[in-house]
């Protein structure tokens, strides 16, 4: 079953266009959305969630049209768009107390478990958390209402190597029972080497490839020099994006 289907997503800005973005994500899989800074990863995710108003395109989550059934779709997804930037002076307890009221499937036991696992103190204010802790708090919120589809925008970028490793391990555990899927954008391709099943590559607002990891890597082997070993994700991205400067 496809938990996410994005079809023909288009958004025009004066100096950037998200062009006809289409991809899909099957249940029980982790997809990495890769691309360099400014390629359109965040715009894609925000357009999917109606936070950016797309000009064209359809989004289906768990078989429902997102625009038509925004509320029920959002009940079944967990979203982390970058680090937490809201309510810096509020305690985590207060934000949780508000957030949980909106979710029908809120699970307090799961919330406590993740808060404890991430060593988060509810009595702390948002501004007292490190960037990594802020991301972890948002992930704890996202995981506490039995979300089937988890959408993360660069969740690992503020984390230290140990926390990153932990998080990637957690991602793999979350999809192990085959019920959940994760879509996460990143420019840290080594994260994907460890845990992604599928890769979607966006460049200048266009999807240039979307496939399972092995097929994806195979597609770009034409970029390697004669006698060179198989290219990994980072090398594929660098060779696709490398520019020249004429200073």
């Amino acid at each position: 079953m496809r938990l996410l289907e994005v079809e023909g997503l288009t958004k025009k800005y004066p100096k950037f266009t998200l062009k006809n973005v289409s991809f899909s994500l099957e249940q029980g899989r982790i997809m990495g959305l890769i691309g360099k800074n400014g390629a359109g990863k965040s715009t894609t995710l925000k357009s999917m969630l109606n936070m950016v108003c797309p000009d064209k395109g359809t989004i289906k989550m768990l078989g429902h049209d997102f625009r038509q059934d925004e509320e029920s779709c959002k009940q079944n997804i967990g979203v982390v768009l970058g680090s937490i930037q809201f309510y810096q002076d509020k305690k985590l307890q207060t934000i949780t107390g508000v957030t949980k009221r909106f979710y029908q499937n809120w699970d307090d036991a799961a919330y406590r478990k993740y808060m404890s696992m991430f060593e988060l103190d509810e009595q702390k204010q948002v501004k007292q958390l490190s960037e990594g802790m802020k991301v972890k708090y948002l992930i704890a919120l996202a995981l506490s209402h039995d979300a089937k589809l988890l959408i993360f925008d660069e969740p690992t970028s503020g984390l230290d190597p140990v926390a990153r490793e932990d998080l990637l391990e957690l991602f793999q555990q979350l999809v192990k029972d085959g019920k959940r899927s994760i879509l996460f954008s990143t420019h840290i391709t080594s994260d994907l080497d460890k845990c992604a099943d599928d890769i979607t590559y966006i460049k200048n607002g266009e999807i240039i490839a979307s496939a399972d990891k092995a097929s994806f890597i195979q597609t770009f082997q034409s970029l390697k020099a004669p006698g060179e070993d198989s290219l990994n994700l980072e090398e594929i991205m660098v060779r696709n994006e490398r520019g020249t400067y004429n200073v």
Partner: protein
């Protein structure tokens, strides 16, 4: 609806709003233009919107399992709840005033039935202009305030000026007969407030649908 209000009062309200809720105590000042209470009310709404913007309130709200337009609904509900609470808190002060300051207010309008009707009209105008301009961008709180406060202040000034005209002395009265005569102003105020806020929500939410957060 209750969840949205809960969210607003627990996360998005600036603490100065609590002070402005009690601004009705100014009705105990012997000589004062009581229309200023509505002006301060509008100022409190501006401060709380600024606080919400600095705390990325719209962004957080849009991630919740609600429709995008409910971000606007949430703010409309907050504005209405603050305004109604402020006006209700004014009532006991207006009654205490009758006993403690029976000579009336020489500066402007008395805290009578017409006063509360005008208050609802001022807030309806402020809400419509402020929220429909604000939700064109979801961040231009200053622009929205300037556009909204000018006509709101004009209504306040008109109210305060009119009671000095001989033909409108009944507006400045606390006599039972005059209070009854003022009832249509309260009725019109209630009507404008209800219709105005429904219209505010419709226009502002339609505009917000096209905003990129």
């Amino acid at each position: 609806m209750s969840n949205l209000l809960y969210k607003e009062w627990h996360l998005a309200v600036h603490s100065v709003v609590y002070l402005f809720l009690l601004i009705g105590a100014l009705l105990l000042v012997p000589a004062y233009p009581y229309g200023m209470i509505f002006f301060f009310g509008c100022l409190g709404l501006y401060f709380t919107s600024q606080f919400a913007r600095e705390n990325s309130d719209a962004f957080y709200t849009a991630t919740l399992p609600i429709k995008k337009r409910h971000v606007v609904k949430s703010k409309c509900l907050l504005f209405v709840s603050i305004e109604i609470a402020q006006l209700i808190i004014c009532i006991p002060f207006s009654i205490i005033r009758l006993w403690t300051l029976p000579d009336g207010n020489p500066v402007g309008i008395e805290a009578n039935v017409a006063y509360f009707g005008f208050g609802l009209i001022v807030y309806a105008i402020f809400n419509f202009l402020y929220l429909t301009v604000l939700f064109q961008s979801a961040y231009q709180v200053g622009k929205a305030f300037v556009i909204a406060i000018i006509p709101a202040t004009a209504v306040i000034a008109l109210m305060e000026y009119s009671v000095h005209l001989p033909s409108f002395t009944w507006l400045d009265s606390l006599q039972t007969g005059d209070l009854i005569r003022q009832l249509p102003i309260l009725g019109i105020g209630i009507l404008i407030y209800i219709v105005g806020n429904i219209l505010t929500y419709r226009v502002a939410s339609k505009r917000f649908e096209h905003v990129d957060l």
